[in-house]
């Protein structure tokens, strides 16, 4: 134990391990720092941040599914000014690594505005551009649904920032490879996927949707196979690094997504069920690597035969 190498390079920044709590499941980090030292993580992607403060969607926002959940939070966040002035300084007290900034928006200008503000923060290592939130833009249509609009956002942001830009893609598309190639051509430094799958549940008693917004993003262990498939397809089609996510619950899931082509792996819904989930995956990773006779985690990236 302890002899294996878990370090990976993510767009010029070395991560101690490839484990990254996903945006929307880890707040701005300090809430989890009350539970454990979050410096054990590779990094984390903070709550999707927009230009203006947002309350998000009406409640109920959450529904349960077999092996998963649906959320329609709708990018609730305090707005980028408050994030820069209050949330990041608070995070600095408990996290000494670079954090991944997750950027949301409703127009090209908004994405650029927010990305520029966060690009100027020393604490931020990467900009993860969320062009794929299923809970805004009136029921699933978003910039990430089409190659042209996805590329437009990425190109506009890329022109204005210095830090690596990661395009976070939606799985709710007909051809994920076409979108991945479009954002790569637009200058994206990396790609992360998958965001949540658009889903819906109905209360049999009331005959109404359980979620006030009707539809929401389906996440949890049930979606891992979709993530493995899409990461595999995209990693084989582009030459920029891919961050895999979707249903990751164990260190074994991390290895599977990395074999599919991921350089690093985000952990989402698992953090909401077990607040220690990401830490426990980090702690378990060396044991599972030894079990599968992996000395250096880099040797398995894209290693699916």
């Amino acid at each position: 134990m302890g002899k294996v190498n878990t370090k990976v390079d993510l767009l010029g920044i070395e991560l101690d391990n490839p484990i990254i709590p996903a945006s929307g499941t880890f707040g701005y980090g300090y809430e989890f720092a009350e539970l454990y030292d979050i410096n054990i993580l590779g990094t984390f992607s903070f709550k999707g941040t927009t230009k203006d403060p947002r309350f998000g969607n009406p409640t109920p926002r959450i529904a349960e599914c077999p092996a998963g959940m649906i959320n329609a939070v709708g990018l609730q966040n305090p707005g980028v000014e408050k994030v820069v002035e209050e949330e990041l300084p608070r995070l600095a007290k408990c996290f000494n690594k670079k954090v991944m900034a997750n950027v949301g928006g409703f127009s090209v200008d908004e994405y650029v505005y927010t990305a520029k503000k966060l690009d100027a923060c020393d604490q931020v290592g990467w900009l993860e551009i969320n062009i794929s939130c299923p809970n805004v833009h009136g029921g699933g249509v978003n910039f990430g649904s089409y190659p042209d609009s996805a590329a437009e956002i990425i190109a506009a942001v890329k022109k204005e920032v210095k830090k690596p830009v990661i395009a976070k893609l939606s799985p709710n598309v007909t051809d994920i490879v076409a979108i991945a190639k479009a954002v790569e051509a637009a200058g994206a430094d990396g790609i992360s996927l998958i965001n949540t799958l658009l889903g819906m549940r109905i209360n049999l008693n009331t005959r109404k949707p359980i979620i006030a917004n009707k539809m929401g993003g389906f996440s949890g262990s049930a979606i891992l196979p979709v993530a493995v498939r899409m990461v595999y397809q995209v990693a084989n089609a582009v030459s920029i690094p891919v961050i895999g996510m979707g249903g990751v619950t164990t260190a074994e899931d991390v290895l599977e997504l990395m074999m599919a082509g991921a350089t690093a792996v985000e952990v989402g819904a698992a953090n909401l069920i077990d607040p220690y989930a990401s830490r426990d995956i980090v702690l378990d990773l060396p044991r599972v690597m030894e079990k599968y006779r992996i000395n250096d985690i880099n040797e398995i990236i894209g290693g699916c035969k």
């Binding site: 809430e31 998000g56 926002r61 349960e64 077999p66 959320n71 953090n271 069920i273």
Partner: protein
């Protein structure tokens, strides 16, 4: 917040659909009345948030209504251990009430009032408990509140026991300095409108995590956005915005 294993020491019905579960474990993070715990159950993805009915020493008492898959699983457990997050939520602030206090619970809003009433009584307060139910067969814990030394009034919607009507009918002629309440939202709203006196309300919402990470249970208040699971579930009368 603390994650730990609790051992089930008792699980019995109080009525046809309401169960009482007692568990033994590390209760050190339960700091006051009005908090809740979040329980992991085999085969279900999300944890189940249940209000704390009482906590004394290392014994935790929960009272829950069997309404869905999660509580159905709990109902059938007779022994074993449960993975529980404790110390969740911002409970009732006991420093704000005067000497004569009203605690008002409706249905499964009754349990959290028990620990509160017990602690208020231990501080020597005069506590009147109003317990609201639909019908006589659904009543539970009336004797337990009486045993704490609370004047205990019961209201049933169908008039089969106590005051006929709602908790607001039972509180009409009472005088008190402050109140605390928990129950279905229509009841909370009725209480809000029924009295000029100040008080605290405990709210319910569908939760993802129960500890402030997912923003699934947010609400608007006059003091800004709050998470029912973190800044709530207890809100003060003066900050509430009724939306639904």
């Amino acid at each position: 917040m603390k994650q730990s294993l609790f051992e089930i020491i008792e699980n019995r019905p109080l009525t046809d659909s309401v169960m009482l579960m007692r568990l033994k474990g590390d209760t050190s993070d339960i700091t006051g009345p009005g908090q809740f715990v979040n329980i992991k159950l085999d085969g279900l993805f999300l944890r189940r948030p249940i209000s704390v009915c009482d906590c004394q020493g290392d014994v935790l008492t929960l009272i829950y209504k069997v309404v869905g898959k999660g509580t159905e699983v709990m109902k059938n457990m007779t022994c074993g251990k449960l993975d529980i997050l404790t110390g969740l939520g911002n409970g009732y602030d006991m420093t704000k009430c005067g000497n004569s206090v009203l605690v008002i619970g409706g249905g499964v809003g009754v349990p959290p009032m028990y620990m509160l009433a017990r602690l208020l009584r231990e501080e020597g307060k005069k506590v009147t408990a109003i317990l609201g139910f639909n019908t006589k067969a659904e009543i539970f814990y009336e004797e337990e509140f009486k045993a704490l030394g609370c004047e205990t009034l019961v209201a049933t919607a169908d008039g089969s026991y106590g005051t006929k009507g709602f908790v607001t009918d039972a509180m009409k002629d009472l005088s008190y300095d402050y109140f605390y309440t928990c129950g279905p939202e229509p009841m909370l709203k009725a209480v809000y409108n029924a009295t000029p006196v100040s008080g605290q309300f405990s709210f319910e919402e569908r939760m993802g995590c129960g500890f402030g990470a997912c923003m699934g249970c947010s609400c608007k208040t006059l003091y800004g956005n709050k998470r029912i699971c973190k800044e709530g579930p207890v809100l003060e009368k003066e900050e509430i915005i009724w939306e639904k």
